[in-house]
């Protein structure tokens, strides 16, 4: 009794709201609190809030993880990430744990191997708290399509947390984990980060291994962190980046993050930022940030990236095309849901008809359409060419400016059910999709508050392998 009260007291005194990786590491090293004390403090929040927020769909066994991390501190072999509580998006495989991508088709699938990012984090003895909710197969921008039901925004439970990494964002925002991993195919890390006042990093395509990430659109998918500070995003990114023999699209080690951190000149794609449909307060918040940066001595210039506005259209051709191909693996025979029909064909159809949610089916049908004979050239091929042109435009712009600045989201977090037609939902990713199309890195930084009380955001985009520029300017924006 006496002891448990003491532990309880020590949990209460841990300030999770302002916790960072460095602060936690210093305190754990000094013995100010133990790994168990830190984890218990997060668990208390989860116990109190998760039933309503639904950020986590499962909590893992923590005892062995906690003991291992604590042992590292006692042996003096702890790294900065040892004992740090992580929420893991449900599409990242951890051996022996269910990884369902919040989809009916994989609801009972147990991962048979560790993804590369998990392997790397296990080496540092981080704590995997649990599986974070997400949109069905990562398809959605609000976490409303999850087979486990929607996740609520901890800052206003009548609003969505964004998506598809909405559970990851909500877990960190409700102080249910210090940091989280998500995946970003068209904005799925940055948009929920923006909606929940977090930092969200989409690294350069090919700098973080996709091995063990449940595939959606393989030329666009990338894993990255959601954190409270830019510094934490950098620490997690540094821990998970690197060439991986198991992912042939990862880059050589000497290329990754090889560009200097110096930022002097900031480009603003004027016509893109000023387009119709962007919330006026998002615009004024953006202008205010620009002005502050100018006062700090940064050079701000207008840039022209004329084809950037076509990114979302390109995305909604290539992403469904790749997804329809990737998701053909769900056959009800080797793993995942299996619904018996009359014969092979009928079994496939019933399995996929029942296992995939509506949004997933819509995208598979669309992808099948744009890849089908007669439409392939007009859609898939044309989109590939426009993608190449957009990438060219980005490369040219980065010859002149160090980074590009835009808002992350065109409006703050919306209410549940507010966006019922697909196009209006898709438009919430208008500013985030271009970075995936060009494969360049981008980060969302919380900045400003809307009059409705929800957080606003700024997105920095840099050239391939220039993550360090995102971090240096991101830290500057954090302190404005």
């Amino acid at each position: 009794m006496g002891l448990s009260r003491l532990i309880r007291f020590s949990n209460m005194s841990i300030d999770l709201k302002n916790m960072t990786i460095k602060k936690a590491h210093t305190a754990l090293s000094a013995g100010d609190f133990s790994v168990r004390g830190l984890v218990d403090a997060y668990l208390e929040n989860i116990k109190e809030k998760n039933e309503d927020i639904n950020a986590y769909i499962e909590l893992f066994d923590l005892d062995d993880q906690i003991n291992e991390a604590q042992a590292r501190f006692e042996a003096g072999t702890a790294t900065e990430l040892t004992g740090i509580p992580f929420a893991m998006k449900d599409n990242i495989l951890i051996k022996g744990q269910i990884a369902s991508a919040a989809s009916g088709i994989l609801k009972n699938y147990t991962a048979v191997y560790d993804s590369t990012v998990i392997k790397m984090l296990k080496k540092e003895a981080v704590i995997f708290i649990g599986r974070a909710n997400m949109d069905d197969a990562a398809m959605g921008s609000s976490t409303e399509t999850s087979v486990y039901g929607p996740t609520k925004n901890p800052l206003d439970p009548t609003r969505v947390p964004g998506g598809s990494s909405g559970g990851s964002a909500a877990a960190v925002a409700m102080n249910g984990a210090l940091v989280a991993l998500g995946s970003d195919t068209g904005g799925s890390i940055r948009q929920p980060a923006g909606y929940c006042a977090l930092v969200g990093l989409k690294p350069t395509y090919g700098t973080v291994s996709r091995y063990g990430l449940i595939a959606m659109a393989s030329s666009l998918d990338v894993i990255g962190p959601l954190t409270k500070t830019v510094e934490d995003a950098k620490i997690v990114y540094d821990a998970i980046k690197g060439n991986d023999p198991m992912d042939s699209t990862t880059m050589p080690e000497d290329k990754i993050s090889s560009i200097s951190s110096e930022v002097k000149k900031i480009g603003v794609p004027r016509s893109f930022v000023d387009m119709d449909g962007v919330d006026p307060e998002v615009k004024s918040n953006f202008e205010k940030t620009l002005k502050s940066l100018e006062e700090k001595g940064y050079e701000i210039v207008d840039i022209s990236v004329p084809l950037i506005e076509y990114s979302l259209a390109v995305y909604y051709i290539l992403m469904p095309a790749e997804a329809s191909t990737n998701l053909s693996r769900y056959d009800g025979i080797r793993f995942g849901l299996s619904v018996q029909g009359e014969g092979v064909d009928d079994s496939y159809k019933k399995t996929r008809g029942q296992g995939f949610g509506k949004e997933v089916q819509r995208r598979i049908l669309l992808g099948t359409y744009v890849l089908s004979h007669g439409y392939y050239d007009a859609y898939y091929n044309k989109a590939q060419k426009v993608r190449a042109k957009i990438t060219e435009e980005f490369k040219k712009v980065f010859e002149d400016v160090d980074v590009i600045l835009t808002p992350t989201t065109p409006a703050p977090a919306f209410k549940f059910g507010e966006k019922s037609d697909p196009i209006s939902m898709y438009l919430s990713d208008i500013f985030t999709v271009p970075a995936n199309i060009a494969g360049v890195p981008a980060i969302s930084i919380p900045k400003g508050v809307h009059s409705n009380g929800m957080p606003l955001d700024i997105q920095i985009t840099a050239s391939h392998f220039a993550e360090e520029k995102l971090f240096s300017l991101g830290k500057e924006i954090e302190t404005l």
């Binding site: 147990t110 259209a313 909604y316 051709i317 025979i333 159809k349 008809g353 049908l365 359409y369 042109k389």
Partner: protein, 93 residues
Amino acid sequence: MSISNDEVKKLGDLSRISVTDDQVEEFKGDLDAILAYVDQIQSVDVGDVEVEYLIKNVVREDENPSQPGEFTKDILKEAPDTQDGFIKVNKIL
């Protein structure tokens, strides 16, 4: 350009997804709207841009093979129906 009901059914067949008659109407409306939106790329002049594919050999040397059966048990555990170390499927012919 508008998609027909038959085309939606055909897409369901091609992608092995059962689509009920009610769903056909809904998907048709959604797909029409999405295609109308993405059709804006038709107006982009792409000139003679070449789509670059980076082609390199990423196949590792064939050495240190995993032991036969090393992963079999774990993998088969995920299959809905197995027998004697094989995955069972419906009769195909």
